[in-house]
């Protein structure tokens, strides 16, 4: 490895030998410090820019298309029908399915990794979960089309394998890394003394987990679940490839075995083909605006719980 971490003495020596003899901040240093301070504002600026440009391109929707048109149940942009309901319900349905798949799996796996697994198993599982997070969504979508969908067609009796269920399964697995790593962090943060006290009172390891450790970590676990669901709503490529993309109203439980179309997939599939500046183009941006708001609120709540606990927030983002 080419990094030799310094010992404290070496670090000290480095400073002594190279520091400015007059010990004054030079102009260059002040400029660099100024630059560093300004970049902090950049982050806020970027978020504001995203909102502004979605509004700039999507805002016209509300003058061009009537609210009545937007709230109908038909999405036929070519004939001027811009009903968003099937798309919103499609997103909700797939996300709900993904939550049903990923919340229990994610929580139980996090408990296993944090509380039960022997050290060597943990050392294998943690990098593995990171690798799962790194698999591109388009690769998962590709596998969903070629491997998962045929299985669903065959064993669930769906007319086509490209269904809301396939989308929920793929999304569920894609949300898992977020849920597992954040929930595991929360469990790790529970003081050891809590567990020791429970064990000393005669509780089994199993009882301690569910009556002491998990309840103590509950706000972190909730954050994990919220962030996981937030990821699922915004997922695009895998969903577009496996859900069949039929813009129909999913109203019954049986709709899980039918194709649906989500908001994200609609944007990704249609933006390439619309005329810039037309009503259809503006509506697609307006859908983006809706997605932005939904994820914004979810993340705001998650951020609030994190700040309240004064936790580090690093793992939430990766």
């Amino acid at each position: 490895m080419w990094f030799e971490p310094l010992t404290e003495q070496q670090a000290t020596l480095n400073v002594t030998m190279s520091s400015n003899p007059r010990n004054q901040t030079t102009i260059l240093e002040r400029l660099i410090e100024r630059f560093i301070r300004v970049t902090g504002i950049l982050v806020i600026l970027f978020l504001a820019l995203i909102f502004l440009f979605l509004l700039r391109e999507g805002g016209a929707t509300f003058f061009e298309v009537t609210l009545r048109n937007l709230l109908q149940t038909r999405w036929y942009p070519n004939e001027g029908h811009f009903g968003l309901l099937p798309l919103i319900l499609g997103s909700l349905m797939v996300t709900l399915g993904a939550a049903v798949v990923s919340l229990p799996l994610g929580l139980l796996t996090a408990v296993f990794i944090a509380e039960v697994a022997p050290r060597w198993v943990r050392e294998i599982l943690k990098p593995f979960i990171e690798v799962l997070a790194g698999i591109p969504s388009v690769v998962l979508g590709f596998l969903g089309m070629l491997v998962v969908s045929p299985l669903i067609r065959e064993y669930m009796g769906a007319p086509t394998g490209l269904t809301a269920l396939s989308g929920s399964l793929m999304l569920g697995y894609m949300a898992l890394p977020t849920i597992i790593s954040v929930a595991e962090d929360a469990l790790d943060a529970v003081p050891k003394s809590y567990r020791d006290a429970a064990l000393a009172l005669g509780a089994t390891h199993w009882q301690t987990i569910w009556r002491v450790t998990v309840p103590a970590a509950r706000s972190g676990i909730l954050t994990a679940m919220m962030l996981g669901v937030g990821r699922a709503i915004g997922e695009t490529m895998a969903v577009m490839m496996v859900t069949g993309n039929a813009a129909r109203m999913p109203l019954t439980l049986g709709s899980f075995l039918m194709p649906v179309r989500t908001m994200t997939a609609t944007i990704a599939a249609e933006m390439g083909e619309v005329a810039q500046g037309g009503a259809h183009y503006h509506v697609l941006f307006a859908i983006g605006l809706v997605l932005f708001f939904v994820t914004f609120i979810i993340n705001l709540i998650a951020a609030w719980t994190i700040f309240r606990q004064g936790k580090r927030y690093g793992r939430l983002l990766s």
């Binding site: 901040t25 902090g40 970027f46 799996l105 296993f112 997922e235 932005f292 998650a302 990766s318």
Partner: protein, 281 residues
């Protein structure tokens, strides 16, 4: 049922659940390797695609993804590391700092396709870069920032306070301390975060859909204002848009993309564990 028995059953359930998470992933990745390996050859990597992508190689898509990843790094690394230094070394715990952290968490949560819309609106249309490597890189860079910032900040905060105190006590200024003591110590951790962020950028499709990706362009880009093919988008195209596509080429492309992305992941993991083993604090 005795408590011990219940515990044993419970632990079995937990192991089974974990297996349910791990096994399908292993199987699917293994399946890609098995199905894709026969397609991979020297020609598959360095040849231009032919016959409407049904034959030939991936060269322009691979070059495009490398260029986009580099472009992302050029924009995202300096800004990301600077913000991390600000948060870890300069920021006080006040409203402004909280606002920045809030913005970072929210940037991380913006759906990738919304980044695509944003890139289209700002870089392609408003700034008139057109669909280009420049617009795509900038879009990916902003998407990557939260990951780089958060991992870099964690690496910086992990450097013990005593290092800074020693530096100050010897007369080092704030910036000298950051530049010559804290930054070198945190460098491996920062690089790990940078690689993880770039890995994410390299594998993304939705943000490049409208900002740079070309459907079929069997030549290398001439400038940063040129469109380019990219591996993730190419995989999407050949698996959904091209009828009669040979399956082995699809699996081969998926495998190349997977190797490209996961090798960055492995690199980051190796760097981190090496560094942890050598660290003396």
């Amino acid at each position: 049922m005795s408590r011990q028995l219940r515990q044993r059953l419970g632990f079995t359930l937990l192991s089974l659940t974990t297996l349910t998470v791990v096994l399908p992933i292993l199987l699917l990745v293994g399946y890609i390797v098995v199905q894709g390996a026969p397609a991979i050859s020297g020609e598959f990597i360095v040849a231009m695609p032919r016959d409407g992508m049904r034959a030939g190689g991936l060269w322009p898509a691979i070059v495009g993804t490398v260029l986009l990843t580099l472009g992302t790094a050029i924009f995202a690394v300096p800004v990301g590391v600077a913000v991390a230094i600000y948060l870890a070394e300069y920021a006080r715990d006040n409203l402004f700092t909280r606002l920045i952290r809030l913005a970072i968490i929210n940037l991380a949560g913006v759906p990738s396709v919304v980044y695509g819309l944003f890139g289209l609106g700002l870089f392609v249309i408003f700034l008139q870069f057109g669909a280009s490597i420049l617009a795509g890189s900038l879009t990916l860079a902003i998407m990557t920032l939260p990951i780089i910032i958060s991992t870099a900040e964690e690496a910086l905060s992990a450097v013990p306070r005593s290092f800074r105190i020693v530096s100050f006590s010897l007369g080092g200024t704030k910036w000298q301390t950051v530049r010559r003591v804290v930054l070198p110590q945190a460098l491996p951790g920062i690089l790990t975060g940078v690689i993880l962020g770039l890995e994410r950028a390299a594998g993304e499709t939705a943000p490049i859909l409208f900002t740079v990706a070309a459907f079929f362009l069997p030549r290398l880009p001439h400038s940063i204002f040129d469109q380019t093919m990219a591996l993730p988008y190419h995989l999407f195209v050949i698996s959904t848009q091209v009828p009669g596509m040979p399956v082995h080429i699809q699996y081969g492309t998926a495998l190349v993309l997977l190797i490209f992305v996961l090798s960055m992941n492995v690199l980051a993991a190796v760097m981190r564990s090496r560094f942890r083993a050598k660290r003396q604090w």
